[in-house]
Amino acid sequence: MIENKIIKFEQVSKIYPGEITALNNLTFSVDKGELVFLAGHSGAGKSTILKLIAGIELASSGTVNVNNINLSQISQNHRTFIRQHIGLVFQDHKILFDRDVFANVRLALDICSQSPTKEITARVTRALQSVGLEHKIHARPEQLSGGEQQRLCIARAIVHQPKILLADEPTANLDRANALKILELFKNFHRAGVTLIISAHDESLLDDYGKRIIRLSNGQFRG
């Protein structure tokens, strides 16, 4: 039987230095092409789950499998390589202010793909079009609004066409209208077959989508 689970957590706990328990014995899985929301208050463990999937952190106990690879059993270099197949959207955008919009998006392609220069330009342009920023291609990041910066971050996350897209509080710093626009973008990517895991603390934004919501509180499932 073909395994349809792209992400599997089995009895995963994460304890940070200082005995701070971020996750406590969590077991869940995500199917290929599924859209899952992680909901919960600040400190509930949403970001830790995303960091564990991306291999940025390692589980203190239990196993995290991504694409049938146990992330605890591979080297740090291999985990870095796996991140090339994952798109990451950060709450604080992590945009580089020493380069323009084009170069920010291009960075992901330079790292992740073997594209020739012509194709790079076309793919960056397409990514920016899909988030509605094609007219700002040569703008500096400081000239962008908060919502535009978040969309730039999304463009960088999708430009190399990852199979999995992880978004950590992508709507946290946006007003409701902009937040809905961002979520609509993610819905489009989901329709294209990308597996999406989105964390958000504002559950009212998520209820209308009719998708699975994993609710967390103090590192455990809630509700």
Binding site: N77, T80, K94, C112, R156
Partner: protein, 306 residues
């Protein structure tokens, strides 16, 4: 192909970084050039000493005196033994028979009267002798050669001015050591300067490196622009060092030439050939890449765990 594109980007990025803050980088390059000049000066000194040694240095001579009863067969045996040693410490030798010795003595202006009044061919007290020209100034092999020659049959006495040989040997090895010490010491200084330069660059680019790592950049992807940055600075510094050293060598050689006019034979610095500077540059580049690698690994271990 992709790697080539990345290298071209890194090349462009390195020069942009240098041109954006030219003054700051000029200081860097001058410091590197000074260090490389001192390293290259050490090499030039060793090179020049070796040249000077070959063309000017008088190697010690050994005087080998035969027993007064030595016959032509004994002389033949000694010649055979010297021929065996000829490729090592012995450069060449010359046999001086007792008759030849007397003739030379009688021709000497100061010794002429004594030699002709007291000595003639029938009561010639001089021994047959060999003048052995050595091919080294090192005292240990010379001492060994002296012992070997003394052990040959019918050899009465072997004379060697060991004190002269020892002094020259010590002087040459001292000068060579100074050159080598300068190369090692300033090589280490160069490594530290490059190491610190890369560490500072990584600190300046902390955000870009952190984001790149999060997106999945490999160590080599992050290292590549830093290698270009260091390599091009070291290349510029080597070029400046080559020009400075050439000027310095010419100036010093003019001074040495003036001294030569006053004191006879003189010393000239032998400037490094273009291929020697090329080899030095290549060695510096390999050294720089290795240092960048160490610096990046150190910063990764201490600052970027994921």
């Amino acid at each position: 192909m992709n790697k080539l594109i990345h290298h071209l980007q890194s090349f462009k990025q390195a020069w942009l970084t240098i041109f954006k803050q030219p003054f700051e980088h000029l200081i860097n390059i001058i410091v590197l050039a000074l260090i490389i000049t001192i390293c290259a000066a050490g090499l030039t000194l060793n090179n020049s000493l070796s040249h000077w040694q070959k063309s000017n240095l008088v190697y010690p001579q050994l005087m080998l005196y035969l027993d007064s009863n030595a016959n032509p067969a004994d002389i033949n045996n000694i010649e055979k033994a010297l021929n065996k040693l000829a490729t090592g410490t012995v450069k060449n030798y010359q046999f001086i028979s007792k008759a030849q010795g007397l003739a030379e003595l009688q021709q000497d202006q100061q010794m002429k009267s004594i030699a002709s009044d007291v000595i003639d061919a029938s009561n010639n007290p001089l021994p047959d002798a060999f003048v052995v020209n050595t091919a080294t100034i090192e005292s240990q092999p010379l001492e060994k050669l002296k012992i070997q020659l003394e052990q040959l049959p019918m050899v009465d006495n072997v004379q060697l001015d060991m004190q002269y040989a020892g002094k020259v040997s010590e002087l040459m090895s001292f000068a060579t050591s100074i050159g080598e010490f300068a190369i090692i010491l300033f090589g280490a200084v160069l490594a530290l300067v490059v190491y610190n330069m890369i560490r500072l660059q990584m600190l300046l680019k902390t955000d870009a490196i952190k984001v790149s790592r999060l997106i999945g950049a490999s160590d080599s992807f992050i290292m590549r622009p830093l290698i270009h940055y260091a390599v091009w600075q070291v290349t510029l510094a080597t070029a400046i060092a080559a020009a400075s050293l050439r000027y310095l060598t010419q100036t010093l050689n003019t001074m040495f030439a003036n001294f030569s006019n006053l004191f006879g034979k003189g010393f000239q610095l032998a400037p490094l050939e273009l291929y020697q500077f090329g080899a030095l540059w290549l060695a510096l580049i390999i050294f720089t890449i290795f240092t960048v690698f160490l610096a990046v690994q150190w910063v990764f271990r201490n600052s970027y765990s994921h």
